[in-house]
């Protein structure tokens, strides 16, 4: 059984801000049925670029639900500029930490938030910048490079924990290790 913090359990059993926000003016979606988790984030942003309401709909495990709930609690009342700085670590910290194999749930929250903000600002986010490395979970080299840099990742296992990449058939694990090494070499 996973070692979930009381805060994760609380946000899973009694999640905050669940459901569709009818008058949302920004929506961010990430994940899919086949991946095993997905998050749809709804934001209501006022004329001063402040998030006045946030809600979510999530398909996934307890940490996915808790991460979604935490995210909406964190960003409510924030300006868009501040919200744009929220990272997966902020979500994980808010919950008192997540098991490392579940870090990808907090990454999903960050990703949905970025997409919602871009959606509001009318910026077209290229669905997938870079070349696909992990075909099972559709993860690109640029995403892996970003995650390795942002979270100081040193092993392919940790790339899997954060991005799921390499966690399916495992064929791309060597490529992931090469990417990690190239990032470390440049650092």
């Amino acid at each position: 059984m996973w070692e979930y913090t009381d805060k994760v359990k609380e946000h899973f059993m009694n999640p905050k801000n669940v459901g569709e926000l009818k008058d949302a003016n920004a929506i961010g979606e990430t994940g899919s049925l086949s991946c095993g988790d997905a998050l749809k984030l709804f934001l209501k942003i006022n004329e001063n670029d402040r998030i006045v309401e946030a809600s979510f709909m999530t398909f996934g495990c307890a940490s996915a639900v808790a991460s979604s709930s935490a995210l909406t609690e964190i960003i409510k009342g924030m300006t868009l500029d501040d919200a744009a700085k929220i990272t997966n670590d902020d979500i994980s910290d808010f919950l008192g930490g997540l098991p490392k194999e579940k870090m990808h749930c907090s990454v999903m929250g960050q990703s949905a938030l970025r997409k919602a903000i871009a959606n509001y600002r009318g910026i077209q986010i290229l669905e997938k910048p870079g070349d696909v490395v992990c075909e099972c979970f559709d993860v690109t080299d640029l995403e892996i490079i970003d995650a390795v840099k942002a979270n100081n990742i040193g092993t392919a296992d940790d790339v899997t924990n954060y991005l799921k990449a390499g966690g399916g058939c495992g064929n791309c694990l060597e490529r992931i290790e090469e990417i990690i090494e190239s990032v470390k070499a440049k650092q």
């Binding site: 059993m13 459901g19 049925l33 999530t58 495990c61």
Partner: protein, 390 residues
């Protein structure tokens, strides 16, 4: 909180009768069964009795039974013995829904020892593609290892029929009967299997004890080499207390077989019918007929298994899931994927596995708990709208 335990394919409660049978051998009766004194020999006699009881469960002779530490050791012993007996044969056959004890062993033999392994696929009901199996059997095949019943779905393979074909072709046949034992009748005299694995903790004996049946006359090379124990077929001082417990558990399992087929099957069928009726967009994984009487694998569309399990856990209900998130892996179970169960229900599949200790009240508790759990999770799911999957 009262615990409702419906995870008996994972492990079972050690029966009170089994504990009682074992207790003296943890205490004053600590002798070594191989010793040349009466004190040790009284344990030895009890081990003889246990071996007979285990043999009786599967209609084997006692000298065909060796005790191991677990089902995995039994499986490994069988395969290694076969490849040692036929060093020139470099082909192995199994299915693509096996327990890791065989699946990962075969992959290891492929990668490290130059073996060629054929993983025979199953259909959407989890039934084995027999045509492909028979075509795969060649003179180069060292062993066929197939599970008698699947741990996740309870779907059974026609081991009798397959063993007959294997015998005719002179290929060794092993079956992992860990899930089948104590749930359906196993008669090794009618089934032409050469080797068969059992595990104690699946049939109300303790963990850490397993059995390998080795057909009389079969050339066997030991997996664990050591002393003369088990007639030189498995070294190591006997785990006497667990062996004695397993003997009692096998005796009880034989007595309980009719209950499995009536009382337990009726409870499973009741749970299945009620859940299918009361929870929309739910579906059973696996063939409804060729299935263990105690197992129900049921998928709920648009929700995720770990979430379901944790909410059931709050109500004291123990079950398991084929979902990725519970195991630490990221893909749903290889069994459900091999059956091409769609992602929408594979991620939300729950396995209930019953024992004769379960009651109808417990089934009602599960039903009453699960209905609002699925409803709550669907209300939260972005893939569920207006009573259906989107």
């Amino acid at each position: 909180m009262k615990i409702v335990y419906t995870d008996n394919n994972a492990t079972t409660r050690v029966a009170d009768e089994v504990i009682e049978e074992m207790l003296p051998y943890f205490g004053e009766l600590y002798g070594n069964p191989s010793s040349m004194h009466t004190f040790g020999d009284q344990v030895g006699k009890k081990v003889v009795e246990a071996r007979q009881r285990v043999a009786d469960l599967i209609n084997a002779d006692p000298e065909e039974i060796i005790f191991t530490s677990c089902g995995t050791e039994s499986d490994n012993s069988a395969v290694y013995s076969a490849i040692n007996a036929f060093p020139d044969k470099k082909h192995l056959i199994t299915s693509n829904v096996e327990h890791p004890a065989i699946k990962n062993l075969y992959t290891h033999l492929e990668k490290k020892h130059g073996y060629r392994a054929t993983f025979i696929p199953v259909d959407k009901k989890g039934l084995l593609n027999l045509e492909m199996l028979y075509e795969a059997m060649t003179e180069d095949t060292a062993i066929i290892s197939l599970m008698w019943a699947n741990n996740e779905t309870g779907v059974m393979f026609p081991i009798d029929e397959i063993a007959e074909k294997a015998n005719k072709k002179g290929i060794l046949m092993h079956t992992d009967a860990v899930q089948a034992a104590g749930k359906v009748t196993i008669d090794v005299k009618k089934t032409g299997v050469d080797m068969l694995s059992l595990s104690g903790h699946k049939i109300h004996a303790p963990k850490g004890i397993g059995v390998l049946y080795i057909k009389k006359g079969l050339k066997f090379s030991p997996f664990i080499i050591g002393g003369h124990q088990e007639k030189g077929r498995r070294g190591g001082t006997e785990n006497t207390t667990s062996i004695i417990g397993l003997g009692k558990a096998c005796q009880l399992a034989k007595e309980h077989l009719p209950i499995m087929d009536t009382q337990v099957r009726e409870l499973r069928d009741y749970l299945q019918a009620q859940l299918l009726e009361k929870i929309p967009c739910s579906s059973v994984n696996g063939d409804l007929d060729q299935r263990l009487p105690n197992t129900l694998s049921i998928g709920f569309d648009a929700v995720e298994g770990e979430s379901i399990l944790l909410m059931l856990d709050r109500d004291g209900i123990c079950a398991s899931s084929g979902s990725a998130c519970t195991s630490g892996s990221l893909d749903p179970s290889h069994v459900l994927m091999a059956m091409e169960v769609p992602f929408k229900s594979a991620h939300g599949s729950i396995r209930f596995s019953l024992s004769h200790y379960n009651t109808k009240e417990e089934m009602d508790h599960i039903i009453n708990s699960l209905i609002p759990v699925i409803k709550k999770l669907r209300e939260m799911s972005p893939f569920w709208k207006d009573g259906k999957v989107i």
